[in-house]
Symmetry: none
Subunit: 222 residues, 2 copies
DNA sequence: AAGCGCGTTAACGGGATCTTGACGACGTGC
DNA sequence: GCACGTCGTCAAGATCCCGTTAACGCGCTT
């Protein structure tokens, strides 16, 4: 079953697309803004993303870049602007197709078929993140060197790796990994950051990539 | 060097595209009609085809079908008609993208980059997968050594074998093999993974290829 | 009717994983 | 120098998850 993530702040459009796509046998998730889109994509790993450009919280190129940082999932951009410059920007940012509104549902469906048709050629390589001499493949959930991670460890690591260099607050990590009611249980973080460092850092006592920002949170340095 | 075949009966357009594409470092061939396009494509094996639909000798769908009969080369269709039905027909015939005239050269170039960006499939793939000393042919649904699998076992095995090395989550497997409402019935997975291992692994208690990732899912290691 | 293959449930023991609490080490501000 | 908060570490117990065994129902063949 092909899973499609529809990103649009216009509830009418998401609803219409959800109905039409479901009727065609696709599995549909929706997100109303860029942050929700990145979050949902990271969580559900869709097979295709339909992305509206007029989002309230982020530029379209930012969303595309946020996805392309770790996945090669096909992206079809929807936009009200037929301006050539916009198309070029979106396509070069990593989008696979660009459809201007108003669009026919038939056309969108055809483009979805066209984009998903070329499946996954065998020769492709997943983007890998490096921590020291270890290669981490987020798509495969695999790490070189025979290292295995538990589910909680993976969730925590993914949140850090998906935003290289960015500081992630403790509240954010606790909320996203453990849930809304754990936002003050910082001992969980200490526990699991220690385990990650033991498994990934060459010298766990002197981390070079999984850094602590005292009083704030943690940060992944590539 | 990327070779592009431009097919259009309007000499002005072919000339303009030839100049623009050459300036961008592409190698350009041109053909004025469908017959010439098929002949040229068979002869030079271009990396991309830009195909106008208003050809004098053949229908656009015929040209696309003629190409798709033997090659998976990306095809970008140009057309003066913005009619939705035309787009659907062309895309479903096998085209990869559809641009309506008049179009901006920038946009076309961006779409060319988008289509050629994904690595091309290149050669045929051997559909035989090895598990230990057993050969598994996914296309023929056959296994060496007199092993037979039930339909459910096949579905499960296929999902794992289609993504070698990748971790497939339990939810994903349950959803795709048994259906959306079985996403939490992990006992099915335990049951059938055990059967697969009994039939395929040399030592079912110590699987070397059908691996468990505790709390996450399963993985096929070639 | 009986036998067989296949899919579906249920239950259990062992082990890995998560949770929880407590203890120093370190740095900061008073 | 001292109190305080934050962080890293350790060591339990509780909990969840996995592999396994066993049984049942259904459709088909014998």
């Amino acid at each position: 079953m092909t899973r499609i993530l529809v990103v649009d702040d216009d509830a009418q459009i998401t609803r219409a697309l959800r109905i039409n796509l479901k009727a065609r046998g696709y599995d549909v998730d929706t997100a109303p803004d860029g942050a929700g889109a990145l979050h949902s994509a990271a969580h559900t790993h869709p097979d295709l993303v339909v992305l509206d450009l007029g989002l309230p919280d982020m530029e379209g190129a930012e969303v595309i870049a946020g996805l392309r940082g770790w996945t090669a999932v096909p992206i079809i951009v929807l936009s009200g602007r037929a301006d050539s410059a916009d198309k070029v920007a979106a396509l070069d940012a990593g989008a696979d197709d660009y459809v201007t509104k108003p669009f026919g549902v038939d056309e969108l469906l055809a483009r979805i078929r066209a984009v998903t048709r070329r499946g996954r050629p065998a020769g492709e390589e997943n983007p890998v993140v490096l921590i020291g001499d270890r290669e981490i493949d987020l798509a495969e959930h695999s790490i070189s060197g025979g290292v295995r991670l538990t589910p909680t460890e993976w969730q925590l690591l993914e949140h850090l790796l998906r935003h290289p260099g960015k500081l992630i607050t403790q509240k954010e990590l606790l909320h996203d990994v453990w849930g809304p009611q754990y936002q003050t249980e910082t001992n969980y973080l200490r526990q699991y950051m220690a385990r990650l460092r033991r498994k990934l850092e060459a010298d766990p006592a002197r981390p070079r990539h999984l850094l602590t920002e005292p009083g704030m949170g943690y940060r992944f340095r590539p």
